[in-house]
């Protein structure tokens, strides 16, 4: 049962992502992305990361997608400017390259003796919290600076020209 859910969810995540590749309209693409992200959240949960599953839903599916949709909305206010292009004409080369990369990665990942499995045990939010504010405390603090920097940058870029 567990396995079925896992592989099914994986299939959804991958298929939804592939749909972005060919979706004609940005809104459709964004919706496919949401599906993929939600499926991923479920995968996280199945892999014993309940906290991350929740965060995935909140941050990605919630916040980030809203940003995307908002932007799409803003742009769509001006009709005629924003036709999405079909697949670019020279698509075969890049697609082939991506395929090679995939094969390489798969080859590499299946070459190593790391296939052993243990029973899935959930790593509780508490453990994550302890790690976050124990050894990773400095990174947390620094990440705050990163957010501040991004905020300043975004604020500057988004304001009207200084008179």
């Amino acid at each position: 049962m567990y396995e079925i859910i896992f592989y099914l969810t994986s299939a959804i995540a991958v298929l939804a992502a592939s749909a972005i590749l060919i979706a004609p309209h940005p809104v459709h693409a964004a919706l496919y992305l949401v599906i993929s992200l939600l499926a991923l959240a479920l995968l996280f949960f199945l892999l014993g990361a309940p906290l991350l599953a929740a965060l995935q839903v909140m941050i990605y599916a919630g916040a980030i997608m809203v940003l995307f949709l908002f932007l799409i909305m803003v742009m769509n206010l001006r009709p005629g400017q924003n036709q999405s292009a079909p697949l670019a004409s020279g698509w075969k080369g890049p697609a082939f390259l991506a395929l090679i990369l995939l094969l390489e990665l798969l080859w590499i990942l299946n070459r190593f003796q790391i296939t052993a499995t243990n029973n899935i045990t959930a790593i509780e939010p508490k453990a994550v919290g302890l790690a976050l504010f124990g050894p990773y405390l400095l990174v947390v603090e620094v990440a705050a600076v990163l957010l501040l920097a991004a905020l300043v940058a975004a604020l500057y870029l988004s304001r009207k020209e200084r008179s």
Binding site: G93, P94, L97, A98, I100, L101, E104, L105, I108
Partner: protein, 645 residues
């Protein structure tokens, strides 16, 4: 104390820099004072080192700065003051100071004192650097600096083409030696990955077998450098011509200090020579030959400075002989005494030349007979010391010791016989000069007074020429035996003959100068009557070495050049004559084909290829974001592909 070591080469260097950079703001007479002060600081630092007990303590060391410290390559600017270096810096700085002081009046009238004192100070800095350097790179720097200054000072009056060419000759000849030294340094660095002299020698003694190929090669290359700088056979030809420079320069550079750099170098690296006994013996052999060569050539000279120049060659030969016999400490002792008496002789000669309207010829100097008694006495002291007049002169003690030590070296008696003969000749040639110049001289017209700085430097040098030898009385004599014992740890000691042999050798050494003086008297009388010395012309030209080189090196070179020129001319002319119009067209076509078809094409082809490469690559840079991402992915694919491959 060791933190002040840098002052020794540093203060003359600074002096030179100030004179060079700020000289525009100074008056002519200030240069001499500034330069003398710089030399004085160096001398005082050395004095301070003595007072602080540098003579008895461990070697002092100071590392100023590591130039590029990467991997094993650690060239430092660092100084070591051990006993060998202490002796050398004492000699160099004291004589350097005296000669700076002497120059104050000697060069007073010259209009280009800035250049003179710049090079004089720079020379002093280079010499002290060479002595104090704790690694071969820095030593080589000093070595080259010294060579450069020597060149510049020999040709100081460069408007005279003869003097200028003398400078060039010295430079080119010593370069041959320098090249050899450089190769030696490369070889040593290549073998040991190390530049520090002490570490390098220690490694060499551990890793190399005595008499094996590497130490022989290394010692030979170093010997080559030493021969060039010290004017030994067969690279001695530059030194007599070097007398074209001002007399103080001759005294400082070409008698007292620079020419002994080779001796210092060999003494510094003597463990290498001990690993190569064959080379060590050839050092002695070269020394012996040079003694005879120099002394015999000096015998026939009429130019007083040339006599002294050949005498220097010959005396440095004694030092080489001592080195070759393993008596390094004695070589150093002779170096010291020689520095004093030879500087004294040069300075007196310089004064005479100066006061007698640039007269170099000893016959004419004697005819004028117009010398103050100070000059006369100083020259006499210098000459006696040079001849090794027994008991009272410094030269006796150093030279006698070398002669005695020679006896017990391999093929010692033979070497001794040559050296003793040289010693006899020494007395002959120097007293020949003395008798010519001073015998029968009486003060006719009033002498121009000798200025105080000159008097002082001459007196000090004269005193030193007498007393310095007392530090080392001969083997078996009562009195001090400081020198050898003091240097034994650093320089080793030579084997001595039995006491009985030593006494008889010492007796001979005492007698030889006296015989020589007698012979000189006879010789001078005969010469005044018009009898030339046998072989005089041959000897006067320094055994015709210049002509020899002219024949075996220079002329073949020119002939070869001319030959090629002729061949070229013949070919072209001959071809032209034979060439018909059509043939010419063919030839032109061929040449065109070669020139334009091959050379031109290949160059334009290369350029076009580069340009094409530029264009092709530039075309990829089309501003398309997807393309950029594609390239990144391609790179990733490529790099990952490496791991699968």
């Amino acid at each position: 104390m060791s933190q002040f070591l840098w002052l020794i080469p540093g203060s003359p260097m600074l002096g030179a820099l100030i004179i060079a950079l700020l000289g525009g703001y100074l008056k002519q007479r200030h240069f001499s004072i500034l330069a003398s002060c710089a030399a004085a600081v160096a001398f005082l630092t050395v004095l301070l080192a003595w007072l602080m007990g540098a003579a008895t303590s461990q070697p002092l060391q100071q590392t100023l700065y590591t130039w590029i410290g990467v991997g094993n390559w650690m060239p430092t600017i660092g100084f070591t003051l051990d006993r060998l270096a202490l002796v050398m810096v004492s000699v160099v700085s004291s004589i350097g100071l005296l000669i700076h002081i002497y120059s104050i009046t000697f060069m007073a009238g010259d209009s280009d004192q800035r250049r003179y004192y710049f090079f004089l100070n720079l020379f002093l800095a280079g010499m002290l650097l060479l002595i104090l350097a704790d690694n071969l790179l820095l030593l080589y720097l000093g070595w080259e600096l010294v060579g450069l200054c020597s060149f510049a000072l020999i040709g100081f009056w460069y408007r005279d083409p003869l003097r200028a060419s003398a400078g060039r000759k010295a430079f080119i000849t010593t370069r041959i030696g320098d090249l050899s030294l450089a190769l030696g340094i490369f070889l040593l660095f290549n073998e040991f990955n190390e530049l520090s002299v002490s570490v390098l020698l220690a490694n060499a003694t551990v890793q190399w077998e005595t008499g094996s190929q590497m130490p022989i090669l290394a010692a030979l290359l170093i010997l080559g450098g030493a021969i060039g700088k010290s004017a030994q056979l067969p690279l001695q030809i530059w030194l007599p011509d070097a007398m074209a420079g001002p007399s103080p320069v001759s005294a400082l550079i070409h008698a007292a200090t620079m020419v002994t750099a080779g001796v210092y170098l060999i003494a510094r690296t003597y463990p290498l020579f001990e690993l190569a006994p064959q080379v060590q013996w050839s050092v002695a052999a070269i020394g012996t030959l040079t003694i005879i060569y120099g002394a015999s050539a000096a015998l026939a000279q009429n130019d007083i400075k040339r006599v002294l120049a050949y005498s220097t060659i010959s005396q440095v030969g004694y030092m080489f002989l001592a080195l070759g016999c393993g008596a390094n400490a004695l070589a150093l002792l002779h170096l010291t005494t020689h520095a004093f008496f030879k500087a004294l002789l040069f300075l007196t000669a310089g004064t005479m030349i100066r006061t007698n309207d640039n007269e170099h010829n000893i016959h004419n100097l004697g005819k004028r007979g117009n010398h103050s008694s100070l000059i006369r006495w100083c020259f006499l002291i210098g000459a006696a010391s040079l001849a090794g007049f027994p008991i009272i002169t410094a030269g006796f003690y150093s030279k006698e010791a070398i002669l005695t030590a020679t006896w017990s070296a391999p093929t010692g008696p033979l070497l001794w016989a040559f050296a003793a003969f040289g010693s006899l000749l020494t007395a002959v040639y120097i007293f020949r000069v003395y008798f010519f110049v001073f015998q029968g001289s009486r003060s006719g017209s009033p002498m121009p007074p000798i200025p105080a700085p000159m008097t002082w430097s001459l007196s000090i040098l004269a005193l030193a020429s007498l007393v310095v030898g007392f530090v080392e009385f001969p083997e078996g004599w009562p009195g001090l035996h400081l020198w050898s014992d003091w240097l034994r740890d650093e320089l080793g000691s030579a084997s001595h003959p039995t006491l009985a042999t030593a006494y008889s050798l010492q007796f001979i050494a005492c007698v030889l100068p006296l015989i020589g003086i007698g012979v000189a008297l006879v010789l001078v009388r005969r010469e005044k009557l018009g009898f030339e010395l046998p072989l005089a012309a041959f000897l006067r030209t320094g055994w015709n070495f210049d002509a020899l080189y002219q024949i075996i090196l220079i002329r073949p070179y020119f002939t070869l050049a001319r030959f090629f020129k002729n061949v070229e001319a013949l070919l072209i002319e001959g071809t032209l004559q034979k060439m018909t119009r059509s043939g010419m067209t063919v030839a032109t076509a061929c040449r065109d084909g070669l020139e334009y078809g091959v050379l031109n094409k290949s160059i334009t082809g290369l350029l076009a290829g580069l340009r094409l490469g530029h264009m092709r690559l530039s075309a990829t840079q089309n501003g398309l974001l997807s393309r950029y991402a594609l390239m990144i992915s391609a790179g990733a694919v490529f790099l990952l592909g490496y791991w699968l491959w």
